[in-house]
């Protein structure tokens, strides 16, 4: 189970005035779910579309399932399952007709009925695509990616724009494919999605990978277990970052939009110390939150920006 199914070496791609991918190295092993995590514009989609054979690269090496696009495009397409960002399938076709169309392009694969069952759209089989909800449309797009029994599944932002319930339903489906031993490469700008689905995550920023590893490793790498966020009456100006940083167990202090954000190694000692400090100075606390460090915190630590900021 350790065959390399995707090998990318020093990949580069520039559009007129923007460098989208700037020397990217990547290896994906068979059977793993690999995530490309990064803000909008980090180069995730360009990277995945180069791997899908849709966008030509400027330079670099690329091997998919041991094959190359230049030589083996036809064979490769038979073995890949692809879900693009923002594809609108034809509204006037039914779910079944759409799946049947895509199934007809592949030499082998499950029956149309089975694929519709896989994505739990049996009840919508005869419904027009135009009448489906966002989550159902996304599941249909997934069905169209599965019709060829792919050896490698590319999912580009599979849950962007969905409501929380539809997202969880899609995550359940993807987890089922993982259990079935499929290899998946997905892009996302949701850190919770990457944390939940991916064995390994590459954090991308400005066309480069800035961190790579399992979500647990990545979180551990910043040496911070917890994050404390709080705001106070009169705004954060009344506080001195240096004094806060002097509290035991506090590592990094930033103030953003009136919210102070501290990385903390020992929650049990840092929070009482913070509260005592605020009481001593007569400052009223209006909000206090703590959470275990996440991939979001990794991104913030590495770039100084949030994933959502783009």
């Amino acid at each position: 189970m350790s065959a390399t199914v995707l090998r990318v070496r020093d990949l580069r791609k520039a559009y007129q005035d923007v460098v989208a991918v700037n020397g990217l190295d990547l290896e994906v092993q068979a059977g793993e779910c690999f995530g490309l995590l990064g803000p909008n514009g980090a180069g995730k989609t360009t990277t995945i579309e180069i791997c899908e054979g849709l966008t030509p690269r400027d330079s670099g090496e690329l091997e998919v399932l041991g094959l190359r696009w230049e030589r083996d495009a036809t064979a490769l397409k038979q073995r890949l399952g692809i879900q693009l960002q923002e594809t609108q399938l034809s509204d006037k076709l039914t779910v079944e007709e759409t799946v049947r169309l895509f199934r007809s392009f592949f030499r082998q694969g499950p029956t149309v009925e089975r694929v519709i069952g896989l994505v739990q759209l049996e009840e919508k089989r005869r419904s027009r695509v135009g009448t489906l909800s966002g989550g159902q449309k996304q599941r249909l797009a997934l069905a169209c990616a599965l019709v060829g029994e792919p050896d490698l599944l590319f999912l580009d932002e599979p849950t962007t724009g969905l409501d929380p319930q539809a997202r969880r339903q899609l995550w359940d489906l993807i987890e089922e494919f993982k259990r079935a031993g499929r290899t998946i490469v997905l892009t996302t700008h949701y850190m919770d999605e990457a944390e939940r689905l991916c064995e390994r995550v590459a954090i991308m920023d400005h066309g480069k990978i800035i961190a790579l590893g399992s979500p647990r490793e990545l979180v551990a790498s910043i040496g911070v277990e917890h994050v404390v966020e709080f705001s106070v009456d009169g705004g954060a100006q009344s506080l001195d970052a240096k004094e806060l940083a002097a509290i035991e167990g506090v590592r990094d202090v930033r103030a953003e939009n009136g919210v102070v954000r501290m990385q903390v190694t020992a929650l049990h000692s840092a929070v009482p110390a913070l509260l005592a400090e605020l009481v001593r100075r007569g400052i009223r606390l209006t909000e206090l939150r703590t959470h275990s460090a996440t991939l979001e915190d990794v991104f913030v630590t590495l770039t100084g920006r949030h994933l959502r900021d783009g």
Binding site: E52, G53, L54, T74, K77, Q78, L80, I82, L84, E86, T87, Q88, L89, S90, K92, L93, E97, R100, L101, F102, R103, S104, F105, F106, R107, R128, C144, G148
Partner: protein
């Protein structure tokens, strides 16, 4: 067979078309309505009665004059008012027994016609005899009426519109939705995608042309004097040529707006120049070579010649040649320029 990608793609074309009621109306219903409306408006009527007025004359003079409806007026002023208001086309005034005055607009053919008929009646009642005897033989033949001229023109116009719109919209829509990009990410052969448009277009043609011609023949008695097969072959060639033009027009456009602007730009001059509603011979001689090179002119001329004059393939070879050139030039350029994503 049922699961062949080309078959599935063609089915998609039909489904998308048949599930769009508006498209169905514009392709099938509208041409029939247009033909029916124009056919009614321009139908050949029995010789029309001309309304004339008389002042101071005896209406019995016109008793036997054909086609004249005579209206006596008490005063000259009343008669002249009726003439100005268009209720009559000629006012006959008899100021004295041996004199007659005709009031009419000499630029109005009906006025001139009424004047000649009235004058004949006046002169004959005063005792004029014709030195030569004349006999009339009437010829009202099908094939020379306006509706006969119109039907082939409308057929050509529909083939142009149908090919260019259906091709253009479906392609640009698929590109705009990124559906085309999704399709080329599959192993689907790209030629199948384009072929499916061609096949569905030709299949639709059977219904479109068949229905329209049946209507024209049954309702208006429009003749098909040449080979029916040649008419169909001409329609197929025309559709292919316009399909290629439609493909070219939609080969780059990313939005429906851009494409439809381009399509209208190309089609509008042909609606006017190519002899759909009136003969293209009305335009100056200097532009005739350009008009003759337009694909719709070629298609309309070939259809008219085959249907109305019973032309054979040899007769319409020049028009067929023009259509073939459009097809063979536009198709490769369209493929070359085609934007798949």
């Amino acid at each position: 067979m049922a699961n062949h990608p080309l078959w599935q793609l063609t089915l998609v074309r039909f489904r998308e078309f048949l599930r769009e009621p508006e498209a169905l109306f514009w392709v099938f219903g509208f041409p029939l309505l247009l033909a029916a409306g124009l056919g009614l408006a321009f139908r050949n009527q029995p010789a029309e009665m001309l309304a004339i007025g008389i002042v101071g004359a005896d209406s019995a003079v016109f008793g036997e004059a054909p086609s004249l409806a005579v209206d006596p007026f008490a005063t000259l002023d009343e008669g002249l008012r009726a003439l100005r208001e268009g209720r009559i086309v000629l006012l006959v005034e008899r100021p004295a027994a041996g004199a007659v005055v005709y009031h009419y607009d000499d630029t109005n053919p009906q006025g001139r016609d009424a004047r000649m008929r009235a004058d004949l009646a006046v002169q004959q009642s005063a005792g004029r005899a014709d030195p030569v005897t004349a006999r009339e033989e009437l010829m009202r033949e099908t094939g020379s009426r306006y509706i006969d001229f119109l039907i082939p023109g409308l057929l050509g116009m529909n083939l142009m519109g149908g090919s260019i719109w259906s091709m253009g919209f479906a392609i640009v829509d698929a590109r705009r939705r990124k559906l085309m990009k999704r399709l080329i990410a599959t192993p689907m052969p790209r030629s199948y995608f384009l072929l499916s448009f061609l096949i569905s277009r030709l299949a639709m043609l059977v219904v479109e042309v068949g229905g329209f011609l049946a209507f024209a023949v049954l309702v208006f008695g429009v003749p098909i004097r040449g080979s029916f097969l040649l008419v169909i072959a001409t329609c197929v060639l025309g559709s292919l040529a316009f399909g290629a033009i439609g493909l070219l027009l939609s080969s780059r456009a990313r939005t429906i707006e851009a494409a439809s602007g381009l399509m209208n730009l190309v089609m509008l001059p042909m609606w006017i120049l190519s002899g759909v509603f009136f003969s293209s011979q009305r335009f100056p001689d200097a532009v005739q070579p350009i008009i003759a090179a337009l694909p719709l002119t070629a298609l309309n001329d070939a259809l008219r010649a085959t249907m109305l004059q019973g032309a054979t393939l040899a007769h319409i070879a020049p028009q067929a040649g023009v259509l073939a050139v459009w097809l063979l030039v536009c198709f490769p350029i369209a493929l070359k320029l085609f934007r798949w994503r």
